[in-house]
Amino acid sequence: MAGLQYVLKRLALMIPTFVLVMIIIFLLVRLLPGDPAIAIAGDKASDADLAAIREKLGLNDPLLVQFWLFFTNTLQGDLGRSIMMRTSVSDVIIDRLPTTGFLALFAVSLSLLIAGPLAFVAALNRGKWPDTVIRTVFQVGLSMPVFYIGLILLTFLAAKLRWFPVGGSGDGFWGQMHYLFLPAMTVALYTSAIIMRNLRAAIIEVLDAEYVQFARAKGLPNRLILGRHVLRNALISTITLLGLSIGNLMSGTLVTETVFAVPGLGRLMLEAIFARDYPLIQGLTLTFAILVSIVFLLTDLFQSLLDPRMRLT
């Protein structure tokens, strides 16, 4: 089956990527100044205590040995124990993953909902005032620091108007929708600006394409031309972009989750870095890498679903 083969091929290509990711993060983490033993035992601990902790964590072994251990354990699905959380890294990650996953999906959906229609309006009115207004507004969204947007939304929509809760993650689907709306919106303001830009350009390009002219010449109804011919084609490049910006989206969650007190992976990552929690940093990075790769894979698959030229035979 061609589809399966394609997936397998993509998976095969992911192997060297992951090894590279593991090497990079392993080295990077070990280059971090500051001693995880101090992070564990605190500033007050004696030097002897620290030495004992280092020994126990295997931090005194040669780097290569440490890496091999990390590598083989990871292959067996064992990400080690979090130093600061004192539990298995995979448990912590599995615990937090749904929240961040929900936030990311929510943000992507919001971005599409915002960017999609507006991109159409802008593209169809190219060069006229709606286009200019829409582009400028999104440009502003693109140049605002995430933590600032977040804070403004919080102050006015949550604290002043009390439309949304200030922080936390909520329970159940609707609870999460309610709690995560503002954080998702914060991330979406940024992503939707990127998507809008791209989609608008894509729509303009497709509107000029010969096959759209031909569809007009066929006397098709407008709705069919825009929906079937224009949108589908414009979506193709936008989907790639969406996949690519998922990495940025994850970066966005780092700060957003901190500002909105959302207990997700992004905030955990910041905490882990500051606590020098080596296993947790490594585990989180791998998780991010896997998530992003899955998204790449999905966008590729979705794209090949949309675009018959991409279907391998």
Binding site: K9, A12, L13
Partner: protein, 332 residues
């Protein structure tokens, strides 16, 4: 017109279709586009060899092989008895000076950010054709040679029409004083009257500079007009090659016949003589066994389906690759 400058011997070239990693792991044979399937040719000094054939039959591939843009899968090209794909020969850039190519697309074959003068001067400098002081006069001379006004040197390619651009491309090729010119559909993108201008220029220059030209085109009238000899290519093989006038007035291969008859006559009353071919051009991805033309040929026999016909000399004609050339041409 006797001395052979270039000899092409059983040239094969297939482009691998990109394979998935899985295929490689499973050692599945890769698919490939067989663009050239055994082309043999000789280019004689001072002649113009026309190459015709349908789109995708391998004309450009052949041209690009000759200038070493593509390396053939097998076969050899000798230039003055030197194999041009020798490791040693490859290092020798003088081959690239002596054999020049001009491209079909007048819009993409010139660097859009370099002025005409820069384009020509660069060629002169890199190959040290002239001392630095003589470069500007030589550029002027070249512009004159291809009949471009002198102020053209300062202009960028987009300021020229298609025909003028092709002349710049010719000037660039001539700058390095080559011996062989490969013209890959040099005029196909141009209008008839502009086509005529460029062809005139080419003919004149050839006369003057004793150039050898390989002229690839699909406009049969034009090929007939400029060529001394003509090769007809079908699916990466030469099916007929011979003297231009003979071939055009009496084509021997059934494919050549169909090709010539399909060219619409300029005379409105001259209707209905076309030989209708059945079916589609087979894909170079899977070239049919036997004679490549057999799937569309009216004269097909069992032999044609299995045995590849070799190019052989036909009495009073050129060389033809057809099992039934004699019979067909008796009736014709």
């Amino acid at each position: 017109m006797t001395q052979t400058v270039m000899k092409i011997d059983d040239l094969h070239l297939s482009f691998p279709v990109s394979r998935s990693l899985l295929d490689v792991v499973q050692r599945k044979p890769g698919k490939s586009v067989n663009a050239l399937n055994g082309v043999s040719l000789e280019l004689k000094h001072g002649e113009t060899l026309g190459v015709v054939g349908e789109s995708g039959c391998g004309k450009s591939t052949l041209a690009r092989c000759i200038v070493r843009l593509y390396a053939p899968t097998s076969g050899r090209i000798h230039f003055e008895d030197q194999d041009i794909f020798d490791a040693e020969a490859k290092r020798d850039r003088s081959y690239n000076r002596r054999v020049q190519m001009m491209f079909q697309d007048p819009y993409s074959s010139l660097n859009p950010r370099m002025s005409t003068g820069d384009i020509l001067a660069e060629a002169l400098r890199v190959h040290q054709m002239r001392p630095e002081a003589d470069i500007a006069p030589r550029v002027a001379e070249l512009l004159g040679l291809v009949r471009l006004p002198q102020d053209a040197a300062e202009k960028l390619p987009h300021e020229f029409s298609g025909g003028q651009r092709q002349r710049i491309a010719i000037a660039r090729a001539l700058a390095v004083e080559p011996e062989v010119l490969i013209a890959d559909e040099l005029v196909s993108a141009l209008d008839v009257s502009v086509q005529a201008q460029v062809v005139n220029l080419l003919l004149e220059l050839q006369e003057r500079l004793q150039l050898t030209i390989l002229f690839v085109a699909h406009d049969l009238r034009l090929v007939r007009h400029v060529s001394n000899r003509v090769a007809v290519i079908y699916l990466g093989r030469i099916v007929e090659i011979g003297d231009s006038e003979t071939l055009f007035s009496a084509p021997s291969h059934p494919y050549s016949q169909a090709l010539l008859s399909a060219a619409p006559s300029l005379d409105p009353d001259d209707k209905g003589a076309a030989i209708q071919l059945e079916g589609e051009l087979p894909s170079p991805l899977n070239v049919p066994p036997g004679c490549p033309f057999h799937v569309r040929c009216r004269h097909v026999t069992a032999q044609c389906r299995t045995v590849v016909p070799a190019l052989r000399t036909l009495e009073g004609r050129g060389e033809v690759a057809c099992h039934h050339a004699e019979e067909i041409n008796q009736h014709a």
